[in-house]
């Protein structure tokens, strides 16, 4: 949420010459910010630089990475995971595949659900709002470890989800032990069991195109549901805040003009929510590429590596396989992906000039012939009061 605290508002420059009474200010300024600078410098800036070096080195995890025995290997580590042709490349490809599907499903679904919840909660009368907001937001404050443990139970073979599915006559899968891809399963149901040669013979990052198109595994799907469950509440709060910043007058004017709730949502509300939508999509995208806790707690990448993610692979390569250079290289590739996607998204959403975004204030243009109420609303005044009366009378008749 704090990311919202916009960096845009620049430092307020105070006019006037420094008074004598403020003489110690410069020193105090540095002293006050020193702890933050020191800790962030030592545990954030230095580490990043050090890891950057490790990603270009052959450090094996013994001794200091800065000692003389450690050699510079150039882009070898990056090459090993992207073009090496070996297991490292294949693992990285699989992890990218898994995470790409995860992002593709989670980001739109969590954004859509969060918006849906926000609109519903915002429609409720004030007292109900608090209760529902609490219910939807609560999963977001609990630890990802606790939720994962709960999920392992809910989606276990004889767990709650399968028990509920069984009641409606569906034999649920063995969720967290099922490595089969969802799309492959769908195709399999249609009788397609192996891909065309064009897809199976060629590939990217050591994974054939056919396998890229496998879809998320059944195990990963359970994590997708979990991500939507835990994050929709947070984003719902952002959307509610956005909705409350929108004045009711345009919406009411459109209502007077006979636009139904569906049209009003798409044409009036959603365009005004654009800034919030951008924030939610960006935060969702950044978060989705960092899946780690759930995998560490739940599946450690299994079954069949189908829940492996780049973040977890980076950890595993370094801490478990002692391939520190490759682990660091994966981390930096991930970093670049996240930064690029953020920039891309910013660019896409800013594509249209601001002028067109400005809500049209002329309900007259939308439709005509609804009586004097239209003019009132069009004037942009507090249309709620006088304008809503005629319609209420009309309905009462």
């Amino acid at each position: 949420m704090s990311v919202l605290a916009s960096p845009r508002d620049a430092m307020p420059r105070r006019a006037g010459s420094p008074r004598g009474i403020r003489h110690g200010e410069a020193l105090a300024g540095w002293l006050f910010t020193l702890p933050v600078l020191l800790i962030l410098g030592v545990f954030l800036l230095v580490p990043v630089l050090m890891a950057l070096w490790v990603s270009f080195s052959d450090w094996s995890g013994r001794g200091s990475p800065l000692s003389s025995g450690v050699g510079f290997v150039g882009l070898d580590n990056y090459a090993a995971v992207t073009t090496g042709g070996g297991l490292a490349e294949r693992d990285f490809g699989i992890a990218m595949r898994n995470n790409a599907w995860y992002v593709l499903l989670v980001v739109p679904l969590q954004t859509g659900l969060a918006l849906f919840l926000a609109v519903l909660v915002n429609r409720a009368v004030l007292r109900g709002r608090g209760v529902f907001r609490t219910a939807f937001y609560f999963p977001s404050v609990t630890s990802s470890v606790a939720i994962t443990v709960l999920w392992l139970f809910l989606f276990s073979t004889s767990g709650v989800v399968n028990a509920i599915l069984a009641r409606v006559g569906i034999a649920g899968p063995n969720w967290f032990n099922d490595p089969s891809g969802v799309l492959h399963n769908l195709l399999g149901a249609l009788g397609v069991r192996s891909g065309p040669e064009a897809l199976t013979q060629h590939g990217f990052l050591g994974v054939s195109w056919w396998d890229w198109l496998a879809g998320p595994s059944v195990a990963m799907s359970a994590f997708v549901v979990m991500a939507i469950f835990t994050t929709s509440g947070t984003f719902m709060l952002l959307f509610i805040a956005g909705l409350q910043n929108i004045g009711p007058d345009i919406d009411e004017a459109a209502m007077m003009d006979g636009a139904n709730a569906w049209q009003r949502f798409w044409r009036i509300t959603l365009p005004q929510l654009r800034p919030t939508l951008f924030t939610v999509l960006t935060l969702g995208l950044i978060g989705c590429w960092q899946v780690f806790d759930q995998i560490y707690t739940g599946t450690q990448g299994g079954p069949g590596k189908t829940t492996l993610t780049p973040a977890y692979l980076s950890y595993r390569s370094a801490f478990l396989s002692q391939d520190w250079g490759q682990g660091a290289a994966i981390a930096f590739i991930l970093f670049v992906i996240i930064v690029l996607l953020t920039i891309l998204q910013r660019w896409i959403l800013r594509e249209r000039p601001d002028v067109r975004r400005r809500p049209r204030r002329g309900p007259r243009k939308l439709t005509g012939g609804n009586g004097p109420g239209v003019v009132e609303a069009g004037a942009g005044g507090p249309a709620g009061g006088p304008a809503s009366e005629p319609s209420a009378k009309e309905d009462a008749r």
Partner: protein, 284 residues
Amino acid sequence: MNRTARRLPRRTLAWQVALYGLLILLALVYVYPFLVQLATSLKTEADAAADPVSLVPNPLTWAAYGRLFLRSDFPVWFANSAVVTVLVTTGRVFFDSLAGYALARLRFRGRGVVYAALVAVMAVPTVVLLIPKFLVINQLGIYDSYAGMVLPLLVDAAGVFIMKNFFESIPASVEEQARIDGAGTFRIFWSVVLPMARPALVTIVILSFQGSWNELSHFIVAAQSPELTTLTKGVASLASGQLSQGSQYPIKLAAAAIMTIPVAVVFFVFQRRIMNTSEGAVKE
């Protein structure tokens, strides 16, 4: 605003009923998993496997909790999490507000650079820092110690921003008065400004508490010995079955439930403020 149900026509009333029906249904879907968690933690293992959907333990047993607290490392994990959370929260409240105040109020050369650096820092994804953090913690010789677990978490850029924004929103006149009376900068900060900043400080407390209590990845790379295991790490190891043979769901879910309680308490106590953080931490 004027959406009270009283004066609405019948068609709208039907919509209202549908709206509340849908909201209640969705709320149940969101709450039900936590009820399952509580109920299962009080079940026997056989009951948990036989009837996972039921919210009524039959028979009801506290065995899982007894096992956790009396015959496992769980109390150690809990204590470690508590210690780390208290230290981190205290540190963040103090250092974040100190730096936030400097960035909002004090004029010094380099303030713009500091601000820009903080913005840049916030953009670095935490997962990327796993290996780097370990390298530095190891290099500094504080691996596998409380220092390594606490120090790197002691400040956060986001908290500095919240405090900075808050301090910019309050009038400077009170400080000017104190300054004319001869109070030093730290004195003004400590006894004049900080007491006024309570709403923002509460926000920092909530975010830090939640953040450090739920933190997992940092503790994975900062320590390894069993005495320094936190709840998140311990419960994660439980999940992969290190304590027990078989599924042992009641024990795992009891651990998860206990782990959720402190955050839930903070959540319900400060609920209104948490909900409002997205609208800005500013209260006049």
